[in-house]
């Protein structure tokens, strides 16, 4: 009896995944809350990560990050591979993600279907996701199965290619095409992300195409390409292994050495195209779609700053002021004030991408009787006002309080922490920088938000996507 999702913000499908998801409804209430041992969150915390962190580099370049926490008898194992859809050349869109599926289909010493069976049979949860930046693989298991998880990850890092067959590729290609149908094609507004990316990023830019890829490219995928993909990118020196939970540094490093230590490093790993500079167009881009949707909907999107930069920290707070919660400007102005937007479907958020100016997306869906143009104008006006109507102390405190809770919620589980450490090690070279993010958010000022709005939310560099409901005959 699945609950209707509350979905205050309907996040776009920026991440594709393997769909293990059959997580047990052990109890009925989902989601995480948070832990952490900083001082009162009302005060400025010194650190967003009050647990130990160590990083060890094996001789083959594999970085091993460990964070011990004996609170619960579980460990999270997480691998970030520094390859995502930004590395895909024209004609091979969707390959990084389809490859992610193949990683669950057996390797040199693991039979087809055995990977899932061994992890779930150990009591664990597992999944993997691909986005434009990277691919991550992760499992959380009762602590006594740590070694099993490392063995499985090493086997598919070092021994996937011999197990890869045409039959497996054909099967997972069909699965991925069904994923595309289910998540993008068969639901109203499901293609919004696919439409926004090419409007935000020009042809040739690594974020121009969506991670799910095109049906034509998926159909054309051949086995040799995937064998080469593994050999090119799935090398120890292109990965970060993170282990968090009921274990220690010495144990993890020794096990990593045992299972991964003999895998050879790759000499040359080709970088993705450089997308850091996206020239402002000076011309707004608007796309209008007339299709079978239940109500008009508008998306406004801007390129901002890369995730991890101080500019993006400001954008993160700005997005929360703009579009998180009933106290946000979008809710107050469009859902409550003018009452032109549906209250459950207004929101704004940044998409945390690190290798180019990351998108900020704001969205609203029209209430009955409200036209798309009026809604688009209202949405644009609220975005414009971020540069002209100063953010009040109360707005700023509200945003920071919500971000603080969200931060500690991710940190409340060993898997949430492991993914964060893997991210910071991969993207910024040092997992300990994870501790800086929350303090950086809390240091953002109202002036910085106004400056950022003037700099990156200019109307002449805006992307607008408008869905009109087609007339039913």
């Amino acid at each position: 009896m699945p609950p209707r999702p509350p979905a205050l913000i309907m996040r776009l499908a920026a991440v594709t995944a393997i769909n293990i998801a059959a997580n047990l409804m052990i109890n009925g209430v989902g989601c995480g809350s948070a832990g952490g041992r900083s001082d009162s969150v009302g005060a400025m915390p010194d650190s967003g990560y009050p647990w130990p962190i160590s990083m060890t580099r094996l001789d083959n370049g594999l970085r091993v990050v460990v964070s011990e926490d004996r609170t619960a008898p579980a460990v999270a194992v997480n691998l970030w591979y520094d390859v995502g859809s930004r590395h895909e050349p024209a004609g091979q869109t969707g390959f990084a993600h389809l490859f992610e599926h193949l990683m669950f289909e057996g390797s040199m010493h693991v039979a087809k279907t055995e990977h899932m069976k061994l992890v779930q049979g150990a009591g664990g949860s597992l999944n993997a996701t691909t986005n434009p930046d990277r691919t991550n693989y992760f499992e959380t298991v009762p602590a006594e199965h740590l070694e099993l998880a490392l063995w499985l990850e090493a086997d598919r890092m070092g021994g996937l290619v011999p197990a890869l067959t045409q039959e497996t590729l054909d099967n997972q290609r069909d699965v991925v095409k069904n994923e595309r149908r289910q998540r993008y094609e068969n639901v109203p507004y499901g293609d919004a992300w696919l439409r926004l990316l090419p409007l935000l990023y020009p042809p040739g830019h690594p974020y121009h195409h969506a991670t799910i890829g095109s049906m034509a490219d998926l159909n054309a995928a051949d086995l040799a390409t995937f064998q080469a993909f593994h050999q090119t990118y799935y090398a120890p020196n292109n990965a970060v292994l993170t282990v968090v939970g009921d274990t220690g540094v010495d144990e993890v490093v020794a096990l990593a050495e045992k299972y991964f230590g003999a895998l050879p490093a790759r000499a040359e790993i080709p970088p993705a195209p450089d997308g850091r500079v996206v020239p402002a167009t000076g011309v707004p881009a608007t796309e209008t779609v007339v299709t079978d949707v239940p109500a008009p909907r508008v998306y406004v999107a801007h390129r901002t700053h890369p995730f991890g930069s101080s500019g993006y920290d400001v954008v993160t707070v700005l997005a929360t002021v703009l579009g998180s919660g009933r106290g946000s400007r979008l809710y107050q102005r469009l859902a409550d004030g003018e009452r032109i937007a549906q209250p459950d479907l207004v929101g704004a958020y940044g998409v945390d991408l690190a290798h180019a100016p990351a998108p900020l997306i704001a969205t609203a869906t029209a209430r009955t009787g409200v036209g798309a143009e009026r809604l688009a104008a209202g949405l644009a006006e609220v975005v414009d006002e971020l540069a002209t109507v100063p953010v009040t102390a109360a707005e700023l405190d509200r945003a920071k309080a919500l971000l603080t809770t969200a931060w500690w919620r991710q940190m409340s589980t060993v898997d949430g922490r492991a993914d964060a450490l893997g991210r910071y090690a991969t993207q910024f070279g040092d997992p300990a920088t994870v501790a800086d993010r929350l303090p950086a958010w809390l240091a953002v000022t109202a002036d910085q938000i106004a400056e950022a709005a003037a700099e990156v939310l200019a109307a002449d560099d805006r992307v607008t996507l408008i869905y009109h409901a087609e007339e039913k005959s």
């Binding site: 109890n27 008898p73 150990a122 099993l148 069909d174 149908r181 549906q342 009955t368």
Partner: protein
């Protein structure tokens, strides 16, 4: 050779621990709390006996509208002031509804829990419920449901539920109601439902570092001004099985996938076979390696995923399978799914499959019960189903002890492939003929509502 060929065995198992549970009767209500030493964030959840099962037939969706209306201002402040006050603490008021309960919760740094519970209680106990606001919230909620029903799934779910449980019963209608049932609610329905069910004390679930939490003070806030006591929750409902399998076709022109919802009635939550039933469901459709997912996704490539499980509330339960399959393979996917259910019912499970299922479900009691929010959910289970403090440890032992004979017997007794209702939501013009040709049962076209 650079890889190690031999699969490592497990290390020494750590003992299973569920947090210490504290129960207390305070200020006319009950507090159930779990102690998480060192946690900086905390969750408080007010549990009321006001689930969808309490809604009168014809008023489906009442709880959902009332939940939204709680935030439209209180006796003390208007809607905007309320939103700013609670979000300044770092939380939203999170409401939830199932067949047995209504839940309202907050999640905040532990030093703000007192203030957050005061605001929670203010909204739940003393909402303004201005008629104009209630009407607007009702219309918005009807629109939200209409938006949701534009996706594949909700209509098929409703059709399945009605066919299983009877549309004349509340439990035969969607938990959140339909766009039409919500649109038809009036202000008095909402205010009466509030006065009948939302000022009884209920239970306050608290999870966090109890050394830094004053449970008595939280209870005083949560239960202030409450009146009334528990109301009989009703006996389990006997739901008859259908004599014959049937196919119900729900038209969704232009669909590139067909949505499958297959099911039949199943035991309520307190049934003595709960553990073997859950394990049978896990083998058939719960884990990634389940029979259904293995066949329909990993062998055939018909879908991105297919799941099946037994679910139960205090008074009833159901077995259901759900998936979305490519339109062109709708009939073969359906035939194979039904075949797998029948095979499991007739032949039971193997030790190999059961080993995965019981270890997985037992392990999940550690792996998925980490955060305060997840532990609050676990406490909710104890309260709703009258279970003891050591329930999770006992459940773990029962799961690990279940053998092939017990689980196969549960599959034999509680799966009913001949009584399945097979709901297909998709492009009827493309799939009707081949569905009829499967011979799985009579094909009924679901009459669309205006």
């Amino acid at each position: 050779m650079t890889l190690i060929a031999d699969r490592p065995g497990p290390g020494a198992a750590r003992p299973y621990r569920f947090p210490q549970v504290v129960r207390r009767d305070v200020a006319g209500g009950q507090v159930v709390a779990a102690h998480l030493p060192g946690q900086n964030l905390a969750v408080a959840l007010l549990l009321l006996d006001a689930g969808a099962g309490r809604e009168p037939v014809g008023s489906e969706g009442l709880g959902g509208v009332l939940a939204k209306a709680l935030e439209e201002g209180t006796a003390q402040r208007d809607a905007t002031a309320y939103a700013l006050a609670i979000e300044a603490l770092g939380t939203e008021l999170v409401t939830g509804l199932d067949w047995d309960t209504f839940q309202a919760s907050v999640q905040v740094p532990v030093d703000r829990l007192g203030a957050a519970v005061e605001l929670l209680a203010e909204a739940v106990r003393t909402p303004k419920l201005d008629p104009e606001d209630v009407r607007r919230v009702r219309d918005d909620e009807a629109t939200a449901l209409r938006m949701d029903w534009a996706n594949p799934g909700p209509r098929a779910d409703a059709v399945l539920r009605a066919d299983l449980f009877g549309v004349d019963n509340r439990w035969g209608r969607p938990m959140y109601g339909t766009p039409d049932s919500v649109a038809a609610l009036d202000v008095e329905d909402v205010t009466v439902f509030h006065s009948e069910w939302f000022i009884r004390p209920g239970t306050l679930v608290v999870v966090g570092d109890l050394d830094r939490i004053d449970l008595d003070a939280l209870a005083a806030s949560a239960f202030a001004g409450t009146v009334g006591g528990p109301v009989d929750r009703g006996a389990p409902i006997e739901v008859p099985l259908h004599a014959n399998r049937r196919i119900i076709l729900v038209d969704r022109p232009g669909s590139v996938q067909s949505t499958l919802r297959l099911g039949h009635p199943a035991p309520h939550r307190a049934h003595p076979d709960y553990v073997p039933i859950a394990l049978a469901g896990t083998v058939l459709g719960g884990a990634f390696t389940s029979r259904l997912n293995h066949l329909i996704r990993e062998v055939r490539g018909y879908t991105y995923g297919i799941r099946g499980d037994f679910a139960s509330s205090r008074r009833f339960g159901r077995f259901a399978v759900s998936s979305g399959v490519q339109t062109a393979v709708t009939a073969p996917a359906l035939v194979e799914a039904v075949g797998e259910i029948a095979r499991t019912q007739a032949g039971g499970v193997t030790e190999d499959e059961l080993a995965v299922a019981r270890s997985w479900r037992a392990g999940q009691l550690s792996v998925e019960l980490q955060s305060p929010r997840a532990i609050a959910g676990a406490l909710t289970t104890l309260v709703v189903h009258d279970l003891p403090d050591d329930y999770h440890a006992r459940l773990r032992e029962s799961l690990l002890a279940a053998d092939v004979a017990q689980v196969s017997a549960a599959a034999a007794a509680h799966l009913h492939p001949e009584s399945l209702t097979l709901v297909l939501e998709g492009d009827a013009a493309l799939i009707r003929d081949e569905l009829a040709a499967t011979g799985l049962g009579d094909l009924i076209d679901h009459a669309p509502t205006a």
